[in-house]
Structure formats: structure tokens, C-alpha cells
């Protein structure tokens, strides 16, 4: 049953919203036992919302019937603040922290009748590609529990595959929406930087963080995108762009659209099964009337990783400074000087990857290195944006694999060095650095594991991505 039909049944009363919510929450608990997708199940909040919706449906107030997400369960990546619900960003240092306010996106979802069912598991503060850097549960791949969900929005993508009548809110800094969506076989849209307000998003890298929808269908993704996109005066970086009806791009013909196949993103370093399925996806686009042709984009593949990690860790190391056990989150026995105290809090409560990135980022912005690393990275970022912009003069979208690999086994990941970890982000970091919208489209299965294709569009062209994604979905 598709989402819009479901919403109609909620509106008509054919499905009792409270009973349905209880059922969904029970389902979450069952799924969680096996897969570990949720750090917190916000039972009271969801049931409270359901009861309120039921009351309003019975009343004469017709406004409730205009709500676009009525009765749809929405899960929220743990880095996004939900008022009074524990929000940890996957870090022990924020254990027990309950925000005083709702993020902008949460306000919007509540306004449209979406029910907040819980907080999904993730890498600590978004630091990872496989969702293994979590202080809490590690989410397991919905197709093979010995494999990774991808990261950092691993719980969000996994739950989207497993739970019906549900859409997830993910967040991406360097690929954290696309990669887990690819590994879990779902659609994940990372919007243009600034298209969705970051107000209430716990910062990883302020100049790159983006909230976006993850869903089992492209329709779900378009529906949630409709609701969360838009200007917010509480986020200075929020774009004041015209609002869009993303759903109108669904099923819109793609005949004549031009697709650029990024030459450097295929071949060496990419698993053959992945490549094969992505080419299949491109063929499907061509069958629907799109024109695909190769384009060389050297900078993004060559310099994406160092540029991304310099900027991201520099910003992250300042963002994480606030966690010192003084006002919220984890605390330790109060003794010693301030320096001794916060050192103890941070030593005991940050995970290894968080510590690594703080050290890297602090180093990159110190006097003497600042010019060579942080400022150099900022310059390369501008060059990358220019190269992309040039490509978008010719193409409506660019295409590459989302990940060079199939979802790896946890035992394989253990063997990777930190640098090999970082290299796994090769396809996704560059559009993130450039603030470009991108979409993971599931294109096939190999060894019973999903493969994803990455579509990248120019700034504010999310509509084109939905249009193309919808065409591939139709083709299946």
C-alpha cells in the first residue's frame, strides 16, 4: 500500500491511528532487537501525537484533513533535536541529553501530522561510513546482518527498508545519506546545502551538514522533501529560495534529459558487480529517453577526500569543543581543576574516531598549518564547485556509483585502516563538499545485496533528481 493511500485511510478513519501507532511501535521494538536501528523509541511522543490526531479527526475541524503526512511514522537521525526526547548524535558524551526545542524539520513534520517514532542509530556525530563508530547499537544490514548498513545514517536507511508506512530523516556531511541508502537498497536524497534548515541539527561540519529524507520509494522521499524544504530565519545559512512542489516531478518524463557519466568514477577501485548494476541503471534512464555520455571530472575524484576531511575535521574540532560535561550530557565526578575535569569527561566519553577527528582538525587549523591545510582545502573547494558548474552547463545530472563496494562484512571492516575507511567515501564526498544535491537510486542486487547509483544535480535542482529517480523506479 503506498503512502498516499495509507494517509487517505487514516483520514477516513478506515485505519485507527492509535491502534496503528501501537502496532508500529511494537514492530520497531521487534526490528530493533535484531537490527539495532533505533537508539530511542519515542513511544510517549508518538502515541500522544496519534491520540491528538484521532481527537481532531473526530472533531469538526477540517484542517486536519489537509495535513500532508497524517499518520506517517517518521524516524529521526539521532543528531537531530527532538524536544524532550533523548538526542545523543550517537555519542556517549550526550547520553541523557534532552533538547529544549524541536529542530525546524521536526516542527514541520509535527505540523503536517507526521508521528515521531524514535531516534535512529548512527556513527558518533556522523563520523563514519559504516555506522560502526557508535557508542550505542551498531545497525545491521537488512539483507545480511553480518554486514554494514553504511553510514553515518545507518539506522535511518535500515529502518526505511524494514518498516512500512515510514519515512526517515537522515543527515549527510560527506555521504551519510547516500551511502547507507545504497547499502540498504532505499532512496536517499541529500538536498542542496541550505535548502533544509539546520536549526536543531547537532553540528558535525557546519558548512557541509544537510538534513534529507530517506524512504523506500521515491514518492516517500519527494513527499518528505516537500515538507522540510524552505527558508528558516533561525538558520542564517538557510536559503531564501522559492518553494517547490517536489511531487510534481514524480512520473514526469525524462526524455531529452542529459546525463553525464563521470569517467573517473568507474574502473579501478570499483567492484565489478557494482559497476555492472550502475550501468544497468544508466541504461534504464536511456530507455526512458535520457541521453548519457561520458564526462571527465578530475578534481572531485582526485582531491575530494583530502579536501573534505580537512574542512570537515577542522570545523568538527571546534563544534565538539562545547562538550565538556558542564551543562548537559555526560558528566564525571567533580574534582580537580576545570582543565582536569573536562579532559576526563572528554577522554572517557568520546569514541576513538571522534578523538581522531578532533586531533586531525585541531592540527589542520593551527598557526603554521592553517594555510597549508584548512585554507588550501577551502580554495580547492571553490575549484571543485567551478568544475561541477561547468559540467552542469551541459548536463542535467551526473552519475556514478554511490559506493565503490557492496555492503562489507563487519569482519572485513575491522581490517581496514582509518585511511581505507576514508577512501570508501570517494564517490560521495565531492558533491557534499560542493553543496550539490544528490540522490541514491537502488539499481539492482548482486549476491542478494543492493547496489546504488548516485545522481548529482546542480544547486537547487532536487526536482530533476526526483524526476530521474522516479524514471528508474518505473523501469523496474
Amino acid at each position: 500500500m503506498d503512502t498516499l493511500n495509507f494517509i487517505e485511510k487514516i483520514k477516513s478513519g478506515e485505519i485507527d491511528i492509535v491502534e496503528h501507532t501501537e502496532k508500529i511501535l511494537e514492530e520497531c521494538r521487534q526490528i530493533n532487537k535484531e537490527y539495532g536501528y533505533l537508539n530511542t523509541i519515542s513511544e510517549n511522543l508518538a502515541l500522544g501525537q496519534a491520540k491528538e490526531i484521532k481527537k481532531q479527526l473526530k472533531s469538526k475541524d477540517k484542517k486536519i484533513k489537509n495535513k500532508k503526512l497524517l499518520g506517517i511514522a517518521v524516524s529521526v537521525k539521532d543528531a537531530i533535536c527532538v524536544k524532550d526526547v533523548e538526542t545523543t548524535a550517537g555519542s556517549k558524551i550526550l547520553r541523557g541529553y534532552k533538547p529544549l526545542f524541536d529542530a525546524f524539520v521536526i516542527q514541520r513534520i509535527k505540523e503536517e501530522g507526521g508521528m515521531i517514532i524514535g531516534k535512529t542509530s548512527q556513527d558518533e556525530f556522523g563520523f563514519g561510513t559504516f555506522s560502526i563508530n557508535s557508542a550505542f547499537g551498531i545497525p545491521k544490514n537488512p539483507f545480511d546482518r553480518e554486514r554494514s548498513c553504511g553510514g553515518s545514517s545507518g539506522g535511518a536507511a535500515g529502518l526505511s527498508q524494514k518498516l512500512k508506512n515510514h519515512i526517515a530523516l537522515g543527515e549527510s556531511t560527506g555521504g551519510s545519506i547516500a551511502t547507507p541508502s545504497s547499502f540498504c537498497g532505499v532512496y536517499g536524497l541529500c538536498p542542496t546545502y541550505g535548502r533544509v534548515s539546520r536549526h536543531g541539527l547537532i553540528d558535525f561540519s557546519n558548512s557541509m551538514d544537510k538534513i534529507g529524507p530517506i524512504g523506500k520509494t521515491i514518492e516517500d522521499v519527494a513527499l518528505l522533501m516537500d515538507i522540510i524544504a524552505g527558508h528558516d530565519k533561525n538558520d542564517s545559512t538557510s536559503l531564501n529560495a522559492k518553494s517547490e512542489d517536489y511531487e510534481k516531478y514524480l512520473k514526469k518524463p525524462i526524455k531529452g534529459m542529459k546525463i553525464g557519466i563521470i569517467k573517473e568514477a568507474f574502473g579501478q577501485g570499483v567492484e565489478r558487480e557494482v559497476e555492472k548494476n550502475v550501468y544497468n541503471g544508466i541504461e534504464e534512464l536511456e530507455e526512458e529517453g535520457a541521453k548519457a555520455e561520458e564526462i571527465s571530472l578530475e578534481l572531485p575524484i582526485k582531491y575530494g577526500i583530502p579536501t573534505y576531511y580537512m574542512i570537515a575535521t577542522s570545523e568538527a574540532s571546534t563544534n565538539l569543543a562545547k562538550y565538556c560535561g558542564m551543562r548537559y550530557g555526560a558528566s564525571e565526578k567533580l574534582e580537580g581543576s576545570f582543565n582536569e575535569y573536562f579532559t576526563k569527561v572528554r577522554s572517557n566519553n568520546f569514541g576513538e574516531e571522534a578523538k581522531r577527528r578532533i586531533i586531525l582538525g585541531t592540527f589542520a587549523r593551527m598557526a603554521g598549518y592553517r594555510d597549508a591545510f584548512y585554507l588550501k582545502a577551502a580554495k580547492v573547494r571553490t575549484l571543485m564547485i567551478n568544475e561541477y558548474k561547468k559540467a552542469f552547463k551541459k548536463f542535467d545530472a551526473l552519475v556514478s556509483p554511490t559506493s565503490p563496494m557492496l555492503p562489507p562484512k563487519f569482519s572485513e571492516i575491522e581490517k581496514l585502516t582509518p585511511l581505507q575507511h576514508y577512501l570508501a567515501d570517494v564517490m560521495t564526498v565531492s558533491p557534499n563538499v560542493a553543496g550539490l544535491p544528490h540522490l541514491n537510486v537502488p539499481v539492482g542486487f548482486e549476491k542478494n545485496l543492493p547496489v546504488g547509483m548516485l545522481l548529482i544535480a546542480d544547486h537547487l535542482q532536487e526536482g530533476k533528481l526526483i524526476q530521474l529517480g522516479s524514471a528508474v523506479e518505473k523501469g523496474k
Binding site: 533538547p99 526545542f101 536543531g200 547537532i202 553540528d203 533561525n234 542564517s236 574540532s317 551543562r327 587549523r365
Partner: protein
């Protein structure tokens, strides 16, 4: 004590801007003083909160840049200055680094121009409370009410050559801030860090932190000059001013510059400082104290000293200009500068706290000009006005304070006094000039001050011959 140019001083002044709300959140900057009541997730640095720039604060800072003749940056960019300290909500301070809002300005003190290196904006940290004093407290309390208040930092060139010049600079700067109405002269906080070096130590730079107010700056620097002259060896270091004990003490020896790992704060977009905006502000810039001094001297023929004192406060200066429209400017200057300021000083009040306006002064001075009241009576009225304003003309009428100008009445009082004080009359006749003053005093008592001593003097001299 005057020092020659063998003393080199540069200042970094931090001044609180008097906006209604904080620099990056809607919390009020003033109001409830109970600790941690004027706070929100933004100024407490809660996860997920985002700063939003207060444009009014930028406008205030731009006014200052214009008043200090600065070159204004076309873009306002904020950076994060990272260091761990308990008064920092985020363990970084949002401030400006590479590109300050204003550069290459100047401020005149007397005939000398002091170079302004930069003017930039930043947020105030929280305040720390040591319940049992700085050294003894086992713990420290943090009050975030101040956290996120808007500050401007003004950095001077090392152009100051003595502690009293530094004081003059601070005084002049506060006057400018007051005229621009961007700083609360009475309640706002203004702090300075000073770099000072002397010839004897081969100009080794010593930094003194935590000097509050313009009176303190001179004290601290005088102490430091003396200390440096007497010390055997001066090393580069940072010291703190202890106002209570009147000494500076070492905080840390400085080997290298501290590294704050500045990066741009990408939560705040770059704000364009458009010419249109700056010109709009320029158009509404008030006439500043130094312009007023010039005008008072040229147009109203005031003495330089009087002009400077009257111009030092914006309200007094504006009152003077209005009064001078209707009253002889020299008389007005005399009464505002000497009597009004004396009375205010005595009652420990600021002009704006009293409710005295130009009408009060014009009424009062008109009565003086027309010799309807004596200076004595006028001074007493002023004292009462400071307590609580009233209609001067009515008050004089109601209290019967009009000067006794009727000669026959005055002669009557004089005759009485002569009769009642025969000894003094005798003494005067014997050549004791002072004795006459005694009789004048008696007459003045009888008239309750409504006669002028000069007149009484003349009548008495005529009568006692």
C-alpha cells in the same frame, strides 16, 4: 608627573554595545539580574542551536567605525577563536579575525591623533563568580546572563606615550561612544588591556589585562611604569591589574603567541556591508563632541576649557545649545558648567536621572538676567530642581523668592541692622573693614537672600559715614 616618549602604550579596549538583545540570539542584554535567567539554547551553546546575527549591533559598530574614521570592510565575517575556559559556552568565542569591520582609523585627543589599528565585533563570554574570592574559592559559579552580549574591540596603535594620555584617550573614546548612543555610559562595561614598554627595559612588551574604566587605566599604567623602572629585569609577560590592591601581578610569561586555531564560523553567512547601508548610517551620525567644542568656541565665544567640559556629555551639550538660543551664551555656560555640574556632582546624580531640561534652565537664567532673583537664590533653586523638577517661574512666585529691588525696603532692613549691631558699626568706623561684612550678613538674613550683597554693601556704606 609627566612622562616623555620613552614610554610606549597601546590599548585594546572592549566595550559593550547597548543593543536591546544579544549579538546572536533574542535574549535581552539587560533586565533580570538573577543569574542565568536571560539565557536560551543559543547563548548557552546547546547542541543544535544556531547563531543569528543582530543587525542592530552591526549598525552600532558601523557608527563607531565612522566616528573613528575607519576604513570599513565590505564584508562582515565572523571566526571562531578556540580555547577552553569555563566562561565559554561553546569553548570558542565568535569574533572577527583576518578582516575586522573597521581598520586604519584615528581618534584625536587634544592636538594629537591616536591611530586605530582595528575595530571588530565579538560576543561576550559568561561571567565567573568566585564566591570566596579569586584565590580561595574551592569552586566557581558561572552566570550566562552576559554570555553573547555584543562587544566591540578597539585596538590602538602604540601611539600613547604616557598613562595620562591613555586616560585621555579612554575618556575621549567614552565620550564618542556616549554621543553615538551605542554604549550605556552609566551601566555599560568598558575594559581595556594595555601593552606597555619603556626605554629602560629596551621596550620589552608587557601586557596588562582587566583594567575597567578610564580612571583605572591611568592608575594601572602609572603603577606599571614605576614597577618597570625599578625592576632589575623585565621579561615579556602578561600581567593582571588588581584594582583593590593597586598593583599588577604576573599571569604568565609569554614565550610565543597563543594559538587559537581560528577558522571561519560557517554558521554565520558573510554579511555584505553595502555602501547604501553605511551611507544611511553616515547621514544620521550626530555631531560629535569635538565638533561641538569647536562650535562652542567659535560661535558662542566660550573658553576652551568650558567648551570641553560642556561638550563632554551629549545631553549637557545639547541643553547648552538650546539655552544659548535665548540666554547670553557666556552666562548659560557659566551656569551649566559651574553651578549645574556642581549640584549634580554633590547629589551624585547624572543629568538624565534628574529630569532637568532646557526649559528649567532658560526660566532660571532669564530670572537671573532680569535680576529678578539673586545668584544665591538661583543656586538654591537648582539644588531643589535636581531633587525633583518643577516650574521655576511658579516656584519663585509661590515662595516669594523675587529679589528685593525696592530700595526703600532694603534701606529699612539696613537701618534695622545698624541699630541692632552698634558694636560692629563702631568697629567699622574705627577702620575695621571686615565689620561691614558682618552687618551685610545680617541684612541678607533679614531678606532671606533675596538681595544682592553688592547692593546692601553700597547702602550700608552710604548710611554709615
Amino acid at each position: 608627573m609627566k612622562f616623555q616618549s620613552d614610554v610606549v602604550i597601546g590599548l585594546e579596549v572592549h566595550c559593550e554595545l547597548s543593543t536591546k538583545t544579544k549579538l546572536f540570539c533574542p535574549c535581552p542584554t539587560k533586565g533580570n539580574e538573577e543569574p542565568n535567567t536571560r539565557t536560551c539554547p543559543i547563548c548557552l551553546g546547546h547542541p543544535g542551536s544556531k547563531p543569528v546575527l543582530n543587525k542592530k549591533a552591526v549598525e552600532f559598530a558601523l557608527k563607531l567605525c565612522l566616528a573613528l574614521n575607519c576604513e570599513i570592510s565590505p564584508e562582515l565575517i565572523f571566526s571562531r577563536k578556540s580555547y577552553f575556559y569555563p566562561d565559554m559556552a561553546k569553548n570558542y568565542q565568535i569574533t572577527q579575525y583576518d578582516i575586522p569591520l573597521g581598520r586604519k582609523g584615528k581618534l584625536k585627543i587634544g592636538n594629537k591623533e591616536i591611530g586605530i589599528t582595528r575595530v571588530h565585533m565579538e560576543e561576550d563570554p559568561a561571567s565567573l563568580v568566585h564566591p570566596a574570592g579569586m584565590k580561595e574559592s574551592a569552586y566557581v559559579l558561572v552566570d550566562y546572563n552576559r554570555s553573547g552580549n555584543p562587544l566591540v574591540e578597539i585596538v590602538t596603535e602604540p601611539d600613547l606615550t604616557s598613562p595620562d594620555e591613555a586616560r585621555d584617550f579612554m575618556k575621549q573614546l567614552i565620550t564618542v561612544l556616549g554621543y553615538l548612543e551605542i554604549f550605556d555610559i552609566n551601566k555599560g562595561i568598558i575594559k581595556a588591556d594595555a601593552n606597555i614598554s619603556i626605554k629602560e627595559s629596551n621596550y620589552t612588551r608587557v601586557e596588562i589585562k582587566n583594567i575597567t574604566g578610564f580612571r583605572e587605566i591611568e592608575r594601572a599604567l602609572l603603577y606599571e611604569v614605576k614597577r618597570q623602572k625599578e625592576a632589575v629585569k623585565i621579561g615579556q609577560e602578561t600581567r593582571s591589574w588588581d584594582s583593590e590592591r593597586g598593583i599588577t601581578f604576573s599571569l604568565r610569561k609569554k614565550e610565543t603567541e597563543e594559538d587559537y586555531g581560528y577558522i571561519i564560523d560557517t554558521d554565520l553567512v558573510v554579511t555584505e556591508i553595502e555602501d547604501k547601508w553605511v551611507n544611511g548610517i553616515r547621514k544620521h551620525m550626530p555631531e560629535l563632541a569635538q565638533d561641538k567644542v569647536k562650535k562652542f568656541i567659535q560661535k558662542y565665544k566660550l573658553k576652551k576649557e568650558d567648551a570641553e567640559i560642556i561638550a563632554a556629555g551629549k545631553q549637557l551639550a545639547e541643553m547648552f545649545e538650546k539655552v544659548a538660543q535665548e540666554i547670553d551664551p557666556l552666562l548659560a555656560a557659566k551656569w551649566l558648567r559651574r553651578e549645574l555640574l556642581r549640584v549634580l556632582n554633590y547629589s551624585k546624580k547624572e543629568l538624565h536621572e534628574t529630569g532637568i531640561n532646557e526649559k528649567h534652565m532658560i526660566d532660571l537664567l532669564k530670572l537671573i538676567e532680569a535680576k529678578k532673583i539673586t545668584d544665591n537664590v538661583a543656586a538654591k533653586i537648582l539644588e531643589k530642581l535636581v531633587e525633583k523638577p518643577f516650574d521655576v517661574k511658579e516656584h519663585v512666585k509661590k515662595e516669594g523668592l523675587e529679589a528685593v529691588s525696592d530700595i526703600s525696603e532694603l534701606e529699612k532692613y539696613c537701618r534695622e541692622a545698624i541699630e541692632e549691631n552698634p558694636k560692629a558699626v563702631d568697629d567699622y568706623k574705627k577702620g575695621e573693614a571686615k565689620a561691614l561684612n558682618f552687618i551685610v550678613g545680617k541684612v541678607m538674613q533679614k531678606t532671606k537672600g533675596k538681595a544682592t550683597p553688592k547692593e546692601v554693601n553700597e547702602i550700608l556704606m552710604r548710611m554709615i559715614k
